[in-house]
């Protein structure tokens, strides 16, 4: 049934592509001059800049729909109070793909060909981004700061117009490896991972990061997203009596794994859960009492953490979200994420040598320790020759009481493990 739906969507796309083949670059913009001559100026003028984002506003992943709310709040604030980005008013068009790759392709085409956007500012999810990046790169449209942690956005050489933002899964794995090396240097580790690109990316990065150390993986179990339950896997892992449990799961299975760990009183490993499943909404159903001491990692400020109660950026953020996105709850971390990534776009655009698509492409690949106030102190944006990963530093956190508590120093995985290459 699903196959035929995708087939129909594909047919439709082919049909649309065949009818809509007009070449329209440069129509909406102003001609670039000087050193920028000959570069693409679609979607940007002296007074405005048009961006398009694709998110799952409906369907199973619709919780991520709060991200564009945070972005919109930031752009509205900048437009109203700061005169826009470099004097240009930002227009941010949001489209819904329901987390379905064929729809993401359709929306990307609409944004690029009909709305004539300057750039795709965020597509969400590895599947949707993978489905669209061939198209954006053929059309030479920047696809910046995509909201997914797959490492291929940075290691792939054939898609220079696409770049990620958040720490990739390999960097995250390195953070856990670094922590274990220091805290439990000879630990035996059991791993549960989702059997897809995401799970394999993180597990592969972890295995590489513990090469040559005393750390060993003694048990490994995978699950499919279609599995009703991961209890059998958890039981097999418990049999290994490992001291550390690395939990590489998406939210629903994260809750199940945490609950299974709680139920099994005979096995009490140090439970490390990946950032994807570290949301409060995952831990709460299991019961806060049951997840004390679980470890994860983060890179931006948690709006619920009292540490940032008087933080200037956090105060500004909460105030502006109330003002420009009434009805939205600033305590939802996805909104904070949106704010931080929009701020990053602002700085990258400011740093661009040319107000063109080429200028943006080059700028996001040449960020030199750009501070973003919503990121954790010590975490900055940094890219350059051979490094297309803006954020590669994270800090560990442990669950205490009703919230995550940061501990230790920010771990810069570039410094500890060297550059990440494909």
């Amino acid at each position: 049934m699903r196959v035929s739906a995708i087939g129909c969507a594909a047919l439709l796309l082919v049909a649309v592509g065949a009818c809509g083949g007009r070449e329209s670059g440069g129509e909406a913009g102003t001609a670039a001059s000087g050193q920028c001559q000959g570069q693409q100026t679609t979607g940007i003028t002296d007074k405005s800049i048009k961006l398009g984002g694709i998110y799952p506003l409906s369907g199973p992943a619709s919780a991520y729909g709060d991200i564009p709310k945070g972005i919109k709040a930031y752009f509205d604030y900048v437009n109203a109070e700061k005169g826009g980005i470099g004097g240009r008013t930002v227009e941010f068009i949001v489209r819904d793909d329901g987390y379905q790759p064929p729809k993401a392709v359709e929306e990307a085409r609409r944004l690029v060909e009909q709305d004539q956007v300057f750039a795709l500012f965020q597509t969400l999810g590895t599947p949707s981004t993978t489905a669209t990046w061939d198209y954006t790169n053929q059309r030479k449209v920047p696809q910046v700061f995509v909201a997914t942690g797959a490492s291929k956005w940075g290691t792939d050489g054939a898609h220079p117009w696409t770049i990620g933002w958040q720490p990739n899964y390999v960097s995250e794995a390195r953070v856990y490896a670094q922590y274990l090396k220091a805290e439990k240097p000879s630990a035996k580790i059991a791993v549960l991972y989702q059997n897809d690109d995401f799970g394999k990316d993180l597990l592969g990065g972890f295995k590489k990061a513990i090469e040559g150390t005393q750390l060993t993986i003694v048990a490994e179990q995978s699950y499919e997203v279609t599995d009703p339950s991961i209890d059998p896997q958890m039981r097999n892992l418990a049999g290994s009596k490992a001291e550390v449990f690395l939990d590489i799961t998406t939210p629903k299975f994260g809750s199940q794994a945490l609950a299974a760990d709680v139920r099994n009183t005979g096995w009490n490993p140090l439970h490390i859960i990946n950032n994807v499943a570290a949301s409060i909404t995952v831990l709460k159903p299991v019961g806060f009492d049951n997840v004390q001491g679980v470890v994860s990692s983060s890179y931006y400020k948690d709006p619920n953490d009292p540490t940032w109660a008087t933080d200037a950026e956090m105060t500004l953020y909460k105030q502006k979200v109330k003002q420009y996105a009434p009805g939205a709850d600033p305590n939802i971390p996805y909104l904070t994420f949106g704010w931080a990534v929009a701020n990053s776009f602002h700085k990258a655009m400011d740093a661009a040598k040319c107000p063109t698509r080429e200028g943006l492409r080059d700028s996001v690949r040449d960020l030199r320790n750009v501070p973003i106030d919503m990121l954790l102190p010590g975490v900055t944006l940094s890219t350059g020759q051979g490094d297309a990963f803006p954020i590669e530093s994270m800090q560990l956190m442990t669950f205490k009481g009703q919230r995550w508590e940061l501990f230790g120093q920010v771990i810069d995985t570039r410094k500890e493990f060297g550059p990440l290459t494909g």
């Binding site: 919780a63 499919e224 279609t226 009703p228 629903k252």
Partner: protein, 293 residues
Amino acid sequence: MAGFLQQVVEGLGAGAVYASLALALVLIYQFTGIVNFAQGELAMFSAYVAWQAMAAGLPFWAALALTLAVSFAGGMLIERIVIRLVEGAPELTLVIVTVGLFIFVNAAAGWIWTFLIKDFPNPFPRGALEVGGVSVGFSTLGVLGVVALVMGLLYLLFQHTKIGLGMRAVAANPDSARLVGIRVGRTLALGWGLAATVGAVSGVLVAPLLFLEPNMMGGVLIYAFAAATLGGFDSPAGAVAGGVIVGVAETLAGAYVPAVGSDLKIGVPLAIILGVLLVRPRGLFGRAVVERA
């Protein structure tokens, strides 16, 4: 040995979950002669109803009673306003309608309650019974007990009541049933209502184990189909036996056949369905369909 027995017990626990939904599938097949793809989603929706009732402050058992009543009414209502329109259409049409219902109910639950996971209280006590080095969770025992009870009730309904007789007649031949004075429409509606009620029991049993979210029953439905096919679509005892066999086979294959492992576990029910259909199409406990020429 204890390790092996433990795996078998875990398989029984998983199998009881599959059996609970398989019972609802068998029930609706008995009543209406169709395979209802939306059964799992209806069960999920019922679990949400129970969750909502408890969130409003009702104690568990009151919420359960309310849920069963709502599910029964909801099932009958669906038959009246959706299925009645295509009554008498070819089986394929009916199956497609249930697939549509599947998608609609899933989306509706997401729309009403969002896709965020919710916790659901477990009616059975925590902890486990230790017998000879094997631990059997109280919740596993509880699920098995409830499934056995529902199975018994269904058996009585099918074999020893007039309603059961009437509904078997409707499923076998609606035209003849109508001629002998059976209210076909009412029987079909009753079938949908009862199946939704049994499904609600399944949803409430599954929700504490898997966490409540709109896609909770998707995976369970596949295994429940395997269970019902294996046991025979017209036998409650067969559905339970089928569920248990599928659960145990899947768990043991995952644990002891390295080539299967966790990756291919989902292939086990498929292999079972194929094997049964080849060797004994009516299922282990099913009756062969005989038609007079």
